[in-house]
Symmetry: C3
Subunit: 465 residues, 3 copies
Amino acid sequence: MFFGKCKMDMCDRTKNTNVRFSLPAVCVVWQTAMIILFGVFIRYDEESDPHWLEHKKLNNISSDIENDFYFRYPSFQDVHVMIFVGFGFLMTFLKRYSFGGVGFNFLIAAFGLQWALLMQGWFHSLDYTDGKIKIGIENLINADFCVAGCLIAYGALLGKVSPVQLMVLTLFGITLFAVEEYIILNLIHARDAGGSMVIHTFGAYYGLSISWMLYRPNLDQSSRLQGSVYHSDVFATIGTLFLWMFWPSFNSAITDHGDGQHRAVINTYLALASTVLTTVAMSSLFQKHGKLDMVHVQNSTLAGGVAVGTAAEFMLMPYGSLIVGFCCGVISTLGYIYISPFLEKYMKVQDTCGVHNLHAMPGVIGGIVGAITAAAASESVYGHEGLVKTFDFEGAFEKMEPTTQGGHQAGGLCVALIFGIGGGMIVGAILRLPIWGDPADDNCFDDETYWEVPEDEEIFDSSIY
Amino acid sequence: MFFGKCKMDMCDRTKNTNVRFSLPAVCVVWQTAMIILFGVFIRYDEESDPHWLEHKKLNNISSDIENDFYFRYPSFQDVHVMIFVGFGFLMTFLKRYSFGGVGFNFLIAAFGLQWALLMQGWFHSLDYTDGKIKIGIENLINADFCVAGCLIAYGALLGKVSPVQLMVLTLFGITLFAVEEYIILNLIHARDAGGSMVIHTFGAYYGLSISWMLYRPNLDQSSRLQGSVYHSDVFATIGTLFLWMFWPSFNSAITDHGDGQHRAVINTYLALASTVLTTVAMSSLFQKHGKLDMVHVQNSTLAGGVAVGTAAEFMLMPYGSLIVGFCCGVISTLGYIYISPFLEKYMKVQDTCGVHNLHAMPGVIGGIVGAITAAAASESVYGHEGLVKTFDFEGAFEKMEPTTQGGHQAGGLCVALIFGIGGGMIVGAILRLPIWGDPADDNCFDDETYWEVPEDEEIFDSSIY
Amino acid sequence: MFFGKCKMDMCDRTKNTNVRFSLPAVCVVWQTAMIILFGVFIRYDEESDPHWLEHKKLNNISSDIENDFYFRYPSFQDVHVMIFVGFGFLMTFLKRYSFGGVGFNFLIAAFGLQWALLMQGWFHSLDYTDGKIKIGIENLINADFCVAGCLIAYGALLGKVSPVQLMVLTLFGITLFAVEEYIILNLIHARDAGGSMVIHTFGAYYGLSISWMLYRPNLDQSSRLQGSVYHSDVFATIGTLFLWMFWPSFNSAITDHGDGQHRAVINTYLALASTVLTTVAMSSLFQKHGKLDMVHVQNSTLAGGVAVGTAAEFMLMPYGSLIVGFCCGVISTLGYIYISPFLEKYMKVQDTCGVHNLHAMPGVIGGIVGAITAAAASESVYGHEGLVKTFDFEGAFEKMEPTTQGGHQAGGLCVALIFGIGGGMIVGAILRLPIWGDPADDNCFDDETYWEVPEDEEIFDSSIY
């Protein structure tokens, strides 16, 4: 049956998915460029340089344990697991695209983090005395964060693009991210510790816009490969759980030492717990026979973590975190049931992993929650010093009021939306060029296209490739 | 064949497994209750509140690194992984109940940790000046611990109960746990850092008693679905390994700063290593042809971690840890071979995961080892200050002797047994009510009952559901 | 078909793979020996003993957070995950040897770490005042490191040896490791934080030499079981990713507090990222149609972590790390394509996991990179104190020059090679004795031999076992 189908398709197929030269060329040339740029620009910062011993003495630092490494390394490793295992395995749910899900995730992240160290470094860690970017553990965390934006975008495109397109998506995605982040955090002075706006809103709309630009009207030709099998769903659950468990580390990784990290963990932990219950409730309520849908459990349970990203370091209060999680579980699950089909049918947005429900909507909610929580801040709740430290009311922003800060937060959300949608449309236009080796419509969601797949489990005849 | 079988069963089947209204109702109502109770009672403690800056000054704390967060957060995250991935994946071993294993584990834990924060908070973290529970990282760890008890109970019931029953089991389990823990730790003044008594003994007997109350004489109608397939066994190994690797963090997560955490890690690491060798030895020796049984490797290798739980922070000595591990590997493996079939056949206890071998017996052993180690403590081994700190001989217990402490430890073990067995019988009686949507005997161990299962791998006809 | 084949083989088969008495005997006797030796020799060190309170006062240590536990525990847990999940799951890639891959890995590691605590303890942690080995967190890390050498050796032998042989391999492997390590680190005074020489070069050549001694000319009789299936490849990716993500912890786990750990993390993170891109490039370029090979993505992406092991704590510079990673991705992938088939065909080395490409070559490169980086060290780059601390130019080595250090590093590499090759040949000769229960040639790579495999997925008739 499939053989016949494929033979028939051959007539229509004009796509060349052979990336034998384009993919190695892109990888080698860009990696070489990284080496040169790192040689020119990147150096160790004072806490990872052997002169740390002198730095300690000069600054009266009493112990090595005061090195920022020990404040942030456990969180960094958790974030690292989220990027590579969390996002990677979450994308293994398709029956025949597990290699592409976890493998291309790996490729995007490995390239993206290098380019992010440079792009974010120029904006945030440039030492003007010698023109070098000085990196330490916080830069590594931020690079992983930056990569997360591109991986979210990949979620919308999973199975429909070539690895070369993904490298291009990452190059531009990281660049846009760094600019957007600089505008939101430094120019607008919005706070966004867990990246509800900077990472999730931007990343999701960036991917959705690209998906809209790359709309495939005949994608149903691959419908036999859409959906999961039993064990691919279990693999995806590995991704879900590592994202869910380590999200407190994500939202607290770059917050203030001490109470800042501590509070961000508590808020995220609670929001995520609450989301699980409402996701299960909605999933059961809106399905025939009350059976749970693994897609919801795999994805919507994470929405609470996205939505407390901005406010996790604020005085959201434990019950506030639960409320945010409650709402996001409901909205995200209903998104999978009602909004995703609507977007695909009427808006021409094909969103493989449903990033609109997991990242876009919760990200926007997170931005709004952050704005409200910031606007409601007061010295009575934070204490004077606490307020200054939490919102970084220093330097040019010394006299800023919480209500103004709330407005700035809202402004930051708008910037993230504009960069996501606008950037996605431009990059989508580039990715429509017929040179990237993307698959034909009946060839999507199939690891055969870009991977050597072990022979004895090949379901479909591959003689025509 | 199966279709015929199922049609025939329809005549007998009176069970309604549709939880479309009961499950959402329980989740939404209880989550709403959590929000209200958190709003009334739960606040940040002084280390996660922005007033930390003032607290630091008042208490002459020199650095943010002294915040308890940095002592405990790495251990917390390891414990978190054990709860969600460790317990979750350990329960994916059945051929068609992997969704239920990892998914309901997720649901129980997400609800349980919220309720545990409240229950444990009222007993241990209530600030009497304002009537609020003040939470920090240690509360999150304890909430995860508390949840572990219910997950152990779930292990005995895996595949035989509905998600609504599991929510009820969790509600009562957490409540009983908090009371039992308060009696054992505060009133009796037993020490139990790793929870051999408080968590494992209680949780296992709680689950076994419920299983006894819910005895299914015709469970062999589901025998086609009992047992594993090749890849489900590999999935379960993920759970095993994450439990095994992170057990040192479990047993040290809430022990004393400094040497207490350090020593608990060493003891647990050694006990677990020793258990692996004797488990392999017994598994090979008692099987035909000397072949290893994955059930033993997945479960009995963990028994050493359970059994050093109480004594991990004491001067058990490295060789003592090895001895405990040695014995538990033997006993737990023999339990799977001889005791579990006996319990099922003669005692009417159906124990899906064998929690009697992994948690109940090793937990009791752990309680006894703890009592002996405590009774044998002396100032010459611990030093005066070390003895006081390790056993918390302060306040009302200032003049307590190690030998007396040993007696109190034994008393604690009895309380855990009584609460586990008694509580389980009461909750089991409640769960026998015909309103919870539990599966029929021939319908157990089957994800079809409560989950949308991907179509193309459906082994059995599902038209009758 | 298989039934016929197996019946035919029965005539030829003289191997007895029943380990019902040898395996339990080895496990129980050796574990008992461990208990006795631990009883005689192993005690807690001053940081894990209750006398820590007095130690703190005597040494003016201001806080419990100065306990080495808090500097190293997060890294330890990451290393622990690499040993058990990383190595374990990397070896699940074969279609019918996943139990043996992850299960025997577990057994080797659990025994090896105990023996390593003793062997390394006698060389490095012996307290001459009382003749006891004092252990703390750093000993646990080193024991895990020591085990890694044996697990690498197992990679070369995967599927071709019995568990009893693996226990023997481990006993001798750990012993050789401890001697070799003492010579390289203490006598020669080479530095090797991440173990490029001590762990990877030694372990790989140890395994390859054993494999050469155990050469099976008729291994193609098991060719039906060589290679992966779709989901076993996804399982192996779990191993890959946990190794890849936590390698920065591996290379920094025992480096100097402060900048040393910090820098080792940055260097490893960057080298690994670079390796991914060149691995993908080479894999695509050298395959028909440019399709990626999962074997390369699973293994070669890790080569960069091996190769920066020695130099990770030095001033390799960020671009230097990228260059090392770049080269290793290329060499390792080409090794899988060209060198492994050559070794098997002409050198009689059957290397199941390709440890020659992942550990041997990158390990040697790592040794060379370390020697060069050490020889190029200068006070202008490190500062005087930084140079002394990084290279430990103290005591007998106070007047050592970086150039001399470079020579010593090269000497260390030679010692690792000699111990690996020589030790492997001796142990290989022992393992050729016909008493160990190893499988027949047509019986390799098959879990049926040593495991109870769930019935319903048995592909091959097992009636003859």
